[in-house]
C-alpha cells in the first residue's frame, strides 16, 4: 500500500471504492503482537504473545475479561483496545443489571462492530486501530468472533491476528476440524503450539505469553504464569528449532516428544519488529 491522494481522511472514497484510512487501520492490527483464539463445543481459549519493551518494564495487557462469560484478546493499538474493553464491560454489566442474565456474545459483537463502523463514517473520528478476538459462552454454545477496525465481524473456529499470525493460522488450518470435539486441555495445547509458531524459533515460556480460557462451568479467567509454564512443560512445547528459516520444523505435530530435542537458541530480543 502506498500513499495516494485519497487517503487523507476516512470520509474520502478512492475511485476503486476503497477507504484507505480504514485499510491503514487494519495495518495497525497486523503490526501488533500476535493473538490467537480457538474454540471447541464447550470451551474457548485465547492466547497472546506478550513481549515487554525492555527488561525493566512490565508487559502490555492484551487480554481483558469483559464478564464471567466473555473475554477479549487484542492486537494493535492497545490503548484503543483498552477503551473498547471498557465499553464491553459496561455493556455486559448494564445488560446483567436489567435482565439478570449474561449478554449473548453475538449481540455484544454486533454492538462493537456498529461502534467501529461509526468511526469509518465521521470526519472528526478515526477508525479504532485494534483487532479484537472476542471469546464467549452463551445459550447457543461457545463462540469466537473477530472484530475488525472496518466494522466487520466474523465468527471463527480458530483465528490468529497480529504480527506473524500467518504461521499460527497455518498451524490452526491443519488442525481446526478437530477442535469442536477437543477437550479443554487439547485446546490449550493447540493454543500454545500456535503461539509458538509465531515466535519463529524463540523459546516459548510463560513469561512471554498469556493464556485465558472460558468454558461451560468455567468463568473467563487468565491462567497464571505457573499454570501456563506447567502446561508448556507438560506438552513439551517449549521447543527450540534452529533459526526461523525452517518452516518444516513446524510440521512435527504435538505428540512427538522429539520436538523438545534440542533446546537450542535462547530468545533473540532484537528480532521482533515494532511490536505495539
Amino acid at each position: 500500500m502506498f500513499r495516494n491522494q485519497y487517503d487523507t481522511d476516512v470520509t474520502t472514497w478512492s475511485p476503486a471504492g476503497r477507504l484507505f484510512q480504514v485499510e491503514y487501520a487494519m495495518e495497525a492490527v497486523k503490526q501488533g503482537s500476535a493473538a490467537i483464539g480457538l474454540r471447541s463445543k464447550s470451551h474457548v481459549v485465547l492466547a497472546c504473545v506478550n513481549k515487554a519493551n525492555s527488561e525493566l518494564s512490565s508487559h502490555q495487557k492484551k487480554i481483558f475479561k469483559a464478564d464471567d462469560h466473555i473475554g477479549v484478546a487484542i492486537a494493535g493499538l492497545t490503548a484503543d483496545g483498552r477503551v473498547l474493553s471498557r465499553y464491553m464491560r459496561s455493556e455486559c454489566i448494564n445488560y446483567s443489571y436489567s435482565y439478570e442474565s449474561p449478554l449473548p456474545v453475538g449481540r455484544l459483537v454486533v454492538q462493537l462492530a456498529d461502534k467501529a463502523q461509526v468511526c469509518t463514517q465521521r470526519s472528526w473520528k478515526r477508525p479504532y486501530g485494534v483487532g479484537l478476538l472476542v471469546a464467549g459462552l452463551d445459550e447457543s454454545g461457545a463462540h469466537l468472533y473477530y472484530n475488525c477496525p472496518s466494522g466487520n465481524y466474523f465468527e471463527y473456529q480458530a483465528f490468529a491476528i497480529g504480527s506473524r499470525s500467518q504461521a499460527a493460522k497455518t498451524y490452526l488450518e491443519r488442525r481446526f476440524e478437530n477442535f469442536m470435539g477437543s477437550s479443554r486441555d487439547d485446546l490449550l495445547k493447540d493454543a500454545l503450539f500456535a503461539i509458538r509458531e509465531t515466535l519463529q524459533g524463540e523459546r516459548l515460556t510463560s513469561s512471554i505469553c498469556t493464556v485465558a480460557v472460558v468454558g461451560v462451568g468455567e468463568a473467563f479467567h487468565i491462567l497464571d504464569q505457573g499454570t501456563v509454564q506447567a502446561l508448556i512443560e507438560a506438552f513439551e512445547i517449549a521447543g527450540e528449532e534452529a533459526p526461523a528459516s525452517e518452516p518444516t520444523a513446524a510440521d512435527q505435530p504435538a505428540s512427538e516428544p522429539g520436538v523438545a530435542a534440542d533446546q537450542g537458541a535462547p530468545a533473540e530480543h532484537d528480532a521482533a519488529p515494532m511490536d505495539i
Partner: protein, 240 residues
C-alpha cells in the same frame, strides 16, 4: 437503545406524588406444573366499588416464552404491555437466535417498577410473570414498589391471603394439567365467594415449551343454598 418511557413527557419538575388507582383488577394466581406454568385471573375491572368492566383480559403472552398477569390499575397495565411490546420488538430485531426469556422479562419489569417507585410515580400494579425456556420453568412476582421474588406458586392482592394457604397445602411438583386447573379453580372459587371485587368470569392461561394457550372465558359453579343463607331475615325483628 433508548426505550420511550411514559414519564418522558418533558416536564417532570412538578413533584409527582402517589397516584390513586381508578380502574383496578383483582387477584392473579400463578402456579408451576409439570409442563410449565398455569395462570388464572378473572376478567373484572372495578371502578372503586362498582364492578364496571367484565371482559378485561388480565393475562397476556409476552414474546415466545412468557406470560404476564396483572392486578391493580388497568391503564398502568396497558402501559406495561406497551413497554414490553417494544422490548420484545427490539429483541426480535436482533434476529440472531437469542430471545428474552421469562427471567429476563421479570428482571426488566422489576427495574421498571422500582425506578418508578423511586420517582414517587409508581405503576400501580402487582405483576405475575411466568414462562418456560429451554425446559426451565420460571414463575415470579413484582409488586408496585419493586419487591420481586420467584416461587412455585404466587398470587397478588387478595390471592395472597386466600389462595396461597390452599396452594401451600395442596401444590406439589409435577401437577398434571387437569390437577393444576382444578387447584386454580378451587382458589378462584374461594376468591369469588370472599373477594368483593371478584367477578364470576375467568380465564386460565397455560404456557409450556410449545407455546401459550389462553382459555376462553368461563364461569365457576357456585353454591349458595347453605341453610344459614336461606330466609336470611327469618329471625330478625324490624324492617332492616
Amino acid at each position: 437503545m433508548k426505550l420511550l418511557d411514559s414519564t418522558d413527557s418533558g416536564n417532570n419538575s412538578s413533584i409527582e406524588r402517589t397516584q390513586y388507582p381508578y380502574v383496578t383488577g383483582t387477584s392473579v394466581i400463578g402456579i408451576k406444573y409439570k409442563d410449565g406454568i398455569l395462570m388464572a385471573a378473572d376478567m373484572g375491572a372495578s371502578y372503586g366499588s362498582t364492578l364496571r368492566y367484565k371482559s378485561v383480559e388480565r393475562v397476556k403472552p409476552v414474546g415466545k416464552h412468557s406470560l404476564i398477569g396483572a392486578s391493580g390499575e388497568i391503564s398502568d397495565f396497558q402501559e406495561i404491555l406497551r413497554s414490553l411490546d417494544e422490548l420484545i420488538l427490539y429483541d426480535n430485531m436482533w434476529d440472531d437466535g437469542n430471545s428474552l426469556g421469562p427471567k429476563e422479562v421479570h428482571n426488566y419489569l422489576t427495574r421498571m417498577m422500582y425506578n418508578r417507585r423511586n420517582k414517587f410515580d409508581p405503576l400501580w400494579n402487582s405483576l405475575v410473570l411466568g414462562g418456560v425456556k429451554n425446559g426451565q420453568k420460571y414463575l415470579g412476582m413484582v409488586s408496585m414498589i419493586g419487591v420481586h421474588f420467584e416461587d412455585n406458586h404466587v398470587a397478588t392482592g387478595f390471592g395472597n391471603h386466600l389462595a396461597r394457604p390452599i396452594l401451600r397445602d395442596e401444590w406439589h411438583e409435577n401437577l398434571t394439567f387437569e390437577d393444576g386447573v382444578k387447584l386454580l379453580e378451587k382458589c378462584m372459587r374461594v376468591l369469588l365467594y370472599r373477594d368483593r371485587s371478584a367477578v364470576n368470569k375467568l380465564q386460565i392461561a397455560k404456557i409450556t415449551e410449545e407455546g401459550v394457550t389462553v382459555s376462553q372465558p368461563y364461569s365457576l359453579k357456585t353454591f349458595w343454598n347453605f341453610n344459614a343463607f336461606q330466609n336470611p331475615t327469618a329471625g330478625a325483628e324490624g324492617s332492616w
